[in-house]
């Protein structure tokens, strides 16, 4: 009990000092950030799971990118109590000179299987519940599509050769959930209305909505797993929400962001701990001199730290709940009806993880405390190994955390490599600058040479300060640079594409019409590459979900059909990274090349066998080559490419992707092309830009929030770094003043000291940012990394100015004390 009260006294005494407060502030901020993230995430997860129960429109849904064979459909009908078949495709609908890409749902007589449709006679009309979809010759359109096409109930729309009457505006479909976070404009027709229209839009899906009890559901599940490897099942019970993967990836990105914040917190804790540790060691040595056992002393220290953690936890948790409320409000557009919650499990899990990590930061300090001795009170003892231990331990625990959090091993590895490289560079620079600076200064009078001398004497502590500031600068610079470049690349998408109209999928039957239309309007076809839709279903004979266990963007993309292209030679905008490209006319068409990012994310290696479903049939390909994108020679590239002989052997449905340059006058006649071929997929780049803008707005919101967190943490790191070394500076200044130097001279000395520190740290941060850009940009974002030297140098100068100003402000404060006070320290 006495130990507890001593620990309480110590904690109370420490919180009165700025070092103690800084430690608590750092911990509180970290807990606040991480809890906000996990509580918001838990709210979204709960929303997704509640939503699944009421928004599926069926007990179970089987989705396939190819139509099932009639015997397979019969089997589904036999296994389920009731079945409704729907088909979805993306088409361009044109009406009264306007056009719009929209998702068309083809339904049968049974739709909706469960729940009701809600429609109205106009966009503002009252919603009416309907138990049947549109009849023959009718089309129902969504309110946004109605606005865009200026189409109202009573109008007649043309789809290819078919005339359809708009009979309702559709507001709600009971199976809306299946579309996940898609905000595509929607229309609905009866499948019989388009019989013979021979439409083949992009993003084609067949969805079989089933009514089935538990035993029927498990029988269907088993049969689908066995017979339809490419099909996807969504269930009410225990199924995953279509938005879940999207959210999980968002969470993983935020997870990596948390790792960056953790790195900064680690630096701040290490800095703030520096003085705190000296005090703790002194305390412990004194306890030992009273005959207290080392274990008791350590217990007191640990308990005292625990009290600080609890204080941080209380404040951090309260703030996190407030922030959760704010963020839930922001997310209401994406997740309608989402609500705030306590989420005890998420709270406990995150608290334990934070506790474990903060304890890991404390481990080296405890190890150092263990070496406290009464002898250290009699004779000064130093433990230089501890700096090394702290650095290695901190870096290893954070590397482990990063790999635990991140879904992208390559990205995490590269981030860590860039940071490691920057750390080494800063160490080397510190040693070189201080050693040569001191050599230069040896026979020179003046304050700058004296600064070099002093800094060389304190090279150990100076290195820690430089590494901390440099790492913090690197993370801050990299975050800001990435934000700026993602914005620029999104804005610049128009310029990097050859042309102003993207042909995202054209069928051979469209090509003649496109060419004719192009020549009649003075448009130019700039690029065209053939592809077929292929869905990766197995890797080395194992199902995709069994082979790949970590979620990633790549995985979620390859779960849907991707574009599989072919080329005799290595395309101009590609280069071979590994393996050998096939020879012209090579007979083995079962070879395939993939991008390195795909290999990393899916855990593939050359020699693996990939099974693709093409037009309903399975084909094996052996992974023998890896190719990467080469910027600057056209933007159309493919994740997977095969030899051209595949086309002859498999005879797949061929599509083309490419771009066109339209003169201004041609835009007005585009609707004629689309009215004739609604399944021709072309996207004007300005429309694409508008979509990017919407995404950009969300990305900007996220990154601004994150940058604010990083900036706040950077402020704490700088304060911790300066406070951690204030005692040394006070002592130094006190001694110098006692030797006759004026305050002005001491300020000058402080300025030189901070300037050299900031210059080395800033250079390290800039070099690390450059290295991170070089490693990450091309491989992860397919962006050509072109560092702007002026921006980098400018950043270093701004960093120097900020660090020097804050440092000098502190120095001025410490100099305001009298010589006697300073010496008393």
């Amino acid at each position: 009990m006495s130990s507890v009260s001593v620990a309480l006294d110590n904690a109370r005494a420490d919180i009165k000092g700025s070092d103690g407060r800084l430690l608590i502030l750092t911990q509180t901020l970290l807990i606040f950030f991480l809890l906000t993230l996990s509580l918001t995430s838990a709210s979204v997860q709960r929303y997704l799971s509640d939503n699944l129960d009421s928004m599926l429109g069926a007990d179970m849904a089987v989705t396939s990118y190819d139509a099932l064979a009639s015997d397979e459909v019969d089997m589904l009908t036999t296994l389920a109590a009731r079945r409704s078949t729907t088909q979805l495709m993306t088409l361009t609908l044109a009406h009264k000179g306007a056009w719009q890409r929209a998702q068309l749902k083809l339904i049968d007589d049974i739709y909706p299987l469960q729940g009701e449709l809600k429609t109205g006679a106009s966009r503002s009309a009252e919603h009416v519940s309907r138990t049947r979809g549109p009849g023959l010759g009718e089309i129902w359109i969504g309110p946004r599509l109605s606005t865009k096409l200026k189409a109202a109930v009573g109008d007649v729309m043309t789809l290819g050769d078919t005339q359809l009457a708009v009979t309702a505006i559709v507001f709600h479909e009971p199976d809306r959930l299946m579309e996940g976070h898609s905000v595509a404009m929607r229309a609905m027709v009866h499948s019989a209305s388009l019989k013979g229209a021979n439409l083949d839009g992009t993003n084609n899906r067949y969805r079989y909505l089933l009514e089935a009890n538990a035993s029927e559901r498990s029988a269907i599940e088993a049969w689908v797993a066995e017979t339809l490897p490419a099909a996807e099942i969504t269930k009410k019970d225990g199924g995953s929400h279509p938005l879940a993967l999207f959210w999980q990836r968002t969470e993983n990105f935020l997870g990596l962001a948390s790792v960056i914040l953790f790195f900064m917190a680690a630096v701040a804790v290490d800095m703030a701990n520096r003085r705190h540790l000296v005090r703790q060691k002194h305390r412990l040595a004194l306890y030992l001199s009273f005959g207290t056992r080392l274990s008791t002393g350590l217990k007191i220290s640990l308990f005292q730290w625990g009290l600080g953690f609890i204080a941080s936890l209380c404040i951090g948790t309260a703030l996190a709940y407030v922030a959760e409320g704010f963020l839930i409000g922001q997310l209401a557009d994406q997740f309608p009806g989402i609500s705030w919650g306590w989420h005890t499990a998420a709270l406990v899990k995150t608290t334990l993880l934070t506790l474990a990590l903060l304890l890991a930061f404390q481990a080296p300090a405890l190890w150092q405390l263990k070496s406290s001795s009464v002898a250290s009170l009699i004779r000064a003892q130093d433990t230089p190994r501890a700096t090394f231990l702290r650095t290695v331990w901190g870096f290893s625990s954070l590397a482990m955390l990063a790999s635990f959090y991140s879904d992208n091993a390559l990205l995490t590895g590269m981030t860590l490599a860039a940071m490691g490289g920057a750390l080494l560079l800063m160490l080397l620079l510190t040693w070189l600058v201080l050693t040569f600076g001191e050599l230069w200064a040896r026979r020179r009078p003046g304050l700058l040479p004296f600064s070099f001398f002093m800094m060389k004497q304190r090279i150990f502590s100076k290195s820690t300060q430089i590494l901390g500031l440099g790492l913090c600068g690197l993370l801050l610079l990299f975050t800001l640079m990435l934000m700026q470049d993602i914005r620029t690349s999104m804005d610049g998408y128009v310029r990097s594409n050859d042309g102003n109209l993207l042909i995202s999928a054209a069928q051979p039957k469209h090509m003649k019409a496109i060419e004719t239309w192009a020549s009649s309007t003075g448009s130019v076809i700039r690029a065209l590459r053939p592809f077929t839709n292929a869905q990766l279903v197995k890797i080395n004979g194992a199902k995709l979900d069994d082979f790949v266990t970590k979620p990633s963007d790549t995985l979620s993309n390859v779960k849907s059909p991707i574009r599989l292209s072919w080329s005799e030679a290595v395309p101009d905008n590609n280069r071979v990274v590994d393996g050998n490209w096939w020879q012209p006319g090579e007979a083995d068409w079962h070879r395939i090349s993939a991008e390195p990012e795909v290999l990393t994310d899916l855990g593939l290696a050359l020699g693996d066998t990939l099974t693709f479903q093409i037009d309903g049939k399975l084909h094996d390909f052996k992974l023998t080559v890896s190719h990467a994108f080469r910027p600057g020679r056209g933007s159309i590239t493919f994740w997977f490419q095969v030899p051209p002989l595949m086309v002859t052997e498999v005879a797949p449905s061929v599509r083309y992707i490419g771009s066109m340059e339209l003169p201004d006058a041609a835009w007005g006649t585009l609707d004629t092309l689309w009215q004739q071929f609604p399944d021709l997929s072309m996207v004007p780049l300005k429309e694409l830009t508008a979509r990017f803008d919407a995404t950009l707005a969300m990305v900007t919101k996220l990154t601004v929030g994150f940058a604010a967190m990083v900036l706040l943490m950077a402020g704490v790191v700088i304060a911790a770094s300066i406070k951690g070394f204030e005692a040394d500076d006070r002592q130094k200044n006190g001694l110098l003043m006692s030797m006759g130097l004026g305050k002005r001279d001491c300020m000058k000395l402080s300025f030189y000291d901070w300037l050299i520190t900031a210059l080395i740290a800033g250079s390290g941060a800039a070099a690390g940012t450059w290295l991170a850009g070089l490693l990450i940009y091309q491989s992860q974002f397919s962006l050509a990394y072109s560092p702007d030297p002026a921006w980098l140098i400018g950043s270093v100068l701004v960093m120097c100015a900020v660090v020097c100003s804050i440092g000098l402000t502190y120095s001025r404060r410490s100099l305001s004390a009298s010589v006697t006070d300073l010496l008393a320290d």
Binding site: S3, D9, K16, R283, L286, S289, F290, T292, A375
Partner: protein
């Protein structure tokens, strides 16, 4: 003897990057309860090192140290629980007031009456009116009086003092020395002190001079 430390033929040295510095060889010394012992010597002679070895804070490079506490053989760690220290630089905790500093060893030993006992001791060293003053509000002499009381407050078997008057003027030194010797006599423990101060050393029951690695009894 109930409490005793016996140093038998101990040798000690330390290595710098360039050379080995031998402090002493085959040195023997016995510290008995109820006695006071002073060690004098020039700076760098190894007095503080000898004190840390005797207090069991370090192990000699050669030779043995035998410790008996309450009539039984004890380890250095066991002895630590029955020891007190007085330092040249006082080493009071800045964040605690005079009373808190004095009560600290008692509280760490789980004594519920720590503050009451500490108050009595504060009175004994004549600093009752300074109970709520922080170390930076006390003079050097006052700080060392508290440090002395702190070393004796748990009634230890051994008290080790390293230059206890090194930072004090002559008059204050005398007062602090009085306290040390009085407390040692009352408690019945052993007091080992390392000092440059001949006058202080002469007040001990036995006095030794350490020079060139040899320990010579001077009184």
């Amino acid at each position: 003897m109930q409490n005793q430390i016996e140093l038998r033929k101990i040798s000690h040295f330390f290595d710098t990057s360039d050379e080995r510095i031998n402090l002493f060889e085959d040195l023997s010394l016995t510290i008995k309860a109820g006695t006071t012992l002073a060690i004098t010597g020039a700076s760098g002679a190894g007095k503080s090192s000898l004190l840390t070895l005797a207090a069991g804070l370090e192990t000699p490079k050669a030779g043995d140290i035998h410790i008996r506490v309450d009539g039984k053989t004890a380890s250095a760690t066991d002895m630590r629980a029955h020891s007190g220290f007085i330092f040249q630089h006082f080493h009071l905790m800045n964040e605690l007031d005079a009373l808190g500093n004095l009560a600290l060893p008692l509280r760490l030993k789980g004594n519920k009456d720590a503050f009451d006992i500490a108050r009595t001791w504060l009175e004994r060293v004549g600093l009752s009116d300074r109970a709520n003053h922080k170390p930076n509000q006390l003079s050097g002499g006052e700080q060392q009086r508290i440090a002395v009381a702190r070393a004796f407050v748990t009634n230890p078997a051994f008290v080790f003092a390293d230059e206890p008057t090194g930072n004090l003027d002559e008059i204050t030194s005398g007062k602090v020395a009085d306290l040390m010797f009085d407390f040692a006599a009352e408690g019945g423990g052993a007091l080992v002190l390392v000092t440059h101060n001949r006058e202080l050393a002469n007040r001990a029951d036995t006095s030794h001079h350490l020079a060139h690695g040899k320990l010579e009894r001077t009184s």
